[in-house]
């Protein structure tokens, strides 16, 4: 059910705040991916950037809760705008 549109795939670091985003892929190793998947970050899931901090640290909204994400992590999540 992957949504097909022409928006470019970017890492979460560079995605616009406030827009609805969809996760395209995650990387960073099995353990890490499984861990963030349990928190609701996995391919085809929607999320939204609530606030952007310096160097890629973010607060995102996913599955009804807000998650704080460190700088190294946002690079490992690829998203696109829907």
């Amino acid at each position: 059910m992957t949504i097909v549109n022409n928006m470019p795939v970017v890492s979460l670091t560079f995605a616009p705040a406030g827009a609805k985003l969809i996760v395209v892929s995650t990387s960073g190793g099995r353990e890490f991916e499984r861990k963030i998947a349990a928190l609701g970050i996995y391919a085809d899931e929607e999320l939204e950037i609530v606030e952007r901090h310096s160097q890629g640290a973010l607060v995102i909204n996913v599955k009804g809760t807000r998650l704080a994400i460190g700088q190294g992590m946002s690079k490992k999540i690829k998203v696109k705008v829907i």
Binding site: E31, R34, A37, A57, K63, A68, G70, M73
Partner: protein, 715 residues
């Protein structure tokens, strides 16, 4: 006869699980550690009818996969201890995320009760939940509660009472995944059954799901069984086919299907009528986690915490001090005035003074525990960890390491106990080992003695500041060193839920604070008692038989002389003090002080400082009173050590004085810190490593400072 049942409480972090636990069990709680790990095991109990129900509060987790020690413990308790029922607490206002764990209990096929906690919050948000429908879908009883107001708790107790009696009836339903996932699960499950690879207590389907999730623990478990490796290879064929079909790793497919099942269930049972509006938490967060204001705001708040710790704590400290003074006086009065008894000295100078010297800090420690409990209870801690993560990352630590390190400025004990919030052992150990470098409250009396004695008024503040700063810099360097040698590994990526802000209840804060204080007293107390006795023996034996002067005779002479009464008293006291000093220099402590003098020389220390440093091992601030004894000045008032302040500059210069402070800052932590490090690291090795490592470090740094300082002084 009373029947006993065992149940567990499980749920996500921030689901209000602990408030439900507190409401169920009240103050009847026992806090321990799971063997081998620093995860708290909290047990309580309550009664329903003639049944006694023992409840274990499992650590809060999002999942039951081997992602963290908490998750492993949660599932192993359920598998091996077979509780009668799993009471799954979920945040009613956020079902979708919380049910992720619930689904995993359903996979385990255990008897379960679903508790929709904070139901008031959900109603405020316009979320309506169809309870009957939910019960049918999941095959479990559902109870609505408001944990922190104790609403629905009696109903929950009643339901627990019913369920434990007929648990077969309440075993949760099997989750129906689509064929895509069901076919490989059943395939692997059949393989395991046919090859006799389902150990006691496990279910084949569940093991199959875990193999699809590539769960390390379960893979190792199967591998360890006969022909397990062969069967795993066959199982991998199923997994490979699944991954090929959907072009995704199988563990992610499992997660997606779980969330898929949940979102289907939520569509059926949840009805949201209100539009989402920007809530209070978000508004607060826009200030608290602000990229510019966030850090200053936090530092300001911590300033208030420390200010209150010491101002509110001080009167209590004085009471405790009075209490121990009174006790010392009372015990002394059992012996006739002026008599010298070893037993009296052991009780009064050894045990009462030693234990008292550390226990005076109890109000401060308790207050810091209170502050931590409040900051955690409101949800602010998660924000602090987030805003500090970038800074901490630079020294190879996690954002959550910042709080323990900061608490270390108050007292190392609560700081080290605070390191258990860190998930990775390498982060936790590194933080634990460097925490004592944060200059704690017990070092302040040392600085207060030395700085005014050696430095001019204008220099006082900068000197004090430089000491604190050196501690921080050394801690950063040590953390970097440890993370690149003993505790190598990548930085843990930072991801943390920012729960809505809540006002914690008095009860929950009280239970939290009290529990930790008791642990501190138990652990530090026993070791402290032993240390006080040992250091008393070292500081009193062997006794010198032939003294260089006839002190008793001198006292008699003074008493017979015709000087005013006041002068007489002072003279007698000074003779007694001189005798004490002579005796001390002959004891083990004094002997060691003398023996290591050559080794202390490079730091500019003489045997007197060495002796006082050894005597100050139980608690840092004892250094002041030990110096008092060494210099024959008798008992020193720590608050106002005037006589010692006048005496010291006659023997040492400013550089030496600075080196004393530096050494006290960096060297071996106090006995209480040692005890807590042992407990939290679960190893004597790391406690000793910290003790010796810091002492060697202090020696090196102080030597360098002294030697370099000497060069400048001779120029």
């Amino acid at each position: 006869m009373e029947k006993k049942y065992k149940i567990v409480l499980a749920g996500n972090p921030n689901s209000g699980k602990t408030s439900v636990f507190n409401a169920l069990t009240g103050a009847r709680q026992h806090v321990g550690n799971y063997p081998g790990v620093t995860v708290e095991e909290i047990i309580g109990s309550f009664k329903v009818g003639d049944c006694k129900i023992n409840v274990t509060d499992l650590p809060g987790t999002y999942s039951l996969t081997a992602n963290s020690p908490e998750e492993l413990i949660a599932r192993n308790v359920i598998i091996t201890e077979k509780p009668e029922v799993v009471v799954n607490v979920v945040d009613a206002s956020n079902l979708e995320r919380n049910l992720f764990l619930t689904v995993q209990f359903m996979e385990l096929g255990v008897p379960m009760i679903l508790v929709l906690n904070m139901i008031d919050n959900a109603r405020d948000k316009g979320i309506e939940i169809n309870i009957d429908r939910l019960e049918k879908l999941f095959g479990t009883r559902v109870v609505c509660t408001v944990g922190n107001k104790s609403e629905g708790i009696n109903e929950l107790k009643k339901v627990i009472g019913e369920v434990v009696l007929e648990k077969e009836k309440h075993t949760s339903k099997k989750v129906n995944y689509s064929d895509e996932l069901t076919i490989p699960i059943q395939g692997v499950s059949k393989l395991l059954v046919e090859n006799n690879l389902v150990p006691e207590g496990y279910k084949a389907d569940w093991l199959a799901i875990k193999l699809l999730e590539k769960d390390k623990e379960i893979i190792e478990l199967i591998e360890s069984l006969e022909s397990g490796k062969k069967v795993l290879e066959q199982a991998n064929v199923f997994i490979a086919k699944l991954e090929d079909d959907v072009d995704e790793p199988s563990e992610i497919v499992v997660t997606e299907h779980r969330y898929g099942f949940i979102s289907g269930a939520c569509r059926e049972v949840v009805n949201t009528s209100l539009q989402k509006r920007r809530d209070v938490s978000e508004a607060i967060d826009s200030i608290v986690t602000h990229r510019i204001f966030g850090i200053p705001l936090f530092l300001g708040l911590m300033y208030v915490v420390f200010y209150l710790t010491f101002t509110i704590g001080n009167p209590f400290m004085e009471w405790i001090q009075y209490g121990f003074d009174w006790l010392g006086g009372f015990v002394s009065s059992w012996w006739p005035a002026g008599s010298e008894s070893d037993l009296k000295s052991l009780l009064v100078d050894g045990i009462i003074a030693g234990v008292g010297g550390v226990l005076v800090f109890l109000p401060n420690i308790t207050f810091l525990f209170l502050a931590i409990a409040i900051l955690e209870g409101t949800g602010y801690m998660a924000r602090v960890a987030f805003i500090m993560d970038r800074l901490m990352n630079k020294i190879g630590l996690h954002g959550k390491s910042f709080i323990p390190m900061l608490i270390g400025f108050g007292c190392s004990v609560p700081a080290i106990m605070g390191t258990r919030t860190l998930n990775l052992k390498r982060d936790r150990m590194t933080t634990m080992l460097v925490v004592p470098l944060m200059s704690c409250g017990a070092r302040i009396p040392i600085y207060a003695l030395i700085i005014p004695a050696f430095f001019s008024k204008q220099l006082e503040a900068p000197v004090m500041f430089s000491i604190y700063l050196i501690g921080i810099i050394v801690a950063i360097l040590c953390a970097k060193l440890l993370r690149s040698t003993l505790f190598k590994g990548e930085n843990e990526p930072f991801v943390m839920e920012l729960p809505p802000y809540r006002i914690p209840t008095f009860k929950s804060i009280g239970i939290h604070m009290w529990g930790r204080t008791v642990v501190y007293l138990q652990k530090a107390g026993t070791l402290l008692l032993a240390a006080s006795v040992i250091f008393w023996i070292l500081g009193n034996y062997p006794k010198k038989d032939k003294l260089t002067r006839d002190y008793a005779g001198e006292i008699v002479k003074v008493e017979q002389s015709k000087v005013p009464q006041d002068e007489k008293k002072a003279k007698i006291q000074s003779i007694r003090n001189e005798k004490k000093a002579e005796l001390l220099s002959y004891t083990c402590t004094g002997w060691v002080g003398h023996a290591i003098e050559p080794a202390l020389k490079p730091m500019g220390f003489d045997w007197k400082i060495g002796t006082a440093l050894i005597g100050a091992f139980p608690a840092k601030e004892l250094f002041v009173s030990q110096m008092g004894i060494v210099f024959a000045l008798g008992d020193i008032d720590q608050e106002n050590p005037v006589s010692l302040r006048e005496e010291l500059p006659k023997h040492y210069n400013g550089l030496q004085a600075y080196c004393i402070m530096l050494f006290c800052l960096l060297s071996a932590p106090c006995i209480a810190t040692f005890a807590v490090t042992k407990r939290e690291s679960n190893s004597w090795f790391w406690a000793l490593f910290q003790l010796l490592g810091l002492t060697v470090l202090a020696y090196l740094v102080t030597t360098i400072v002294y030697q370099v300082g000497l060069l400048f002084m001779t120029v």
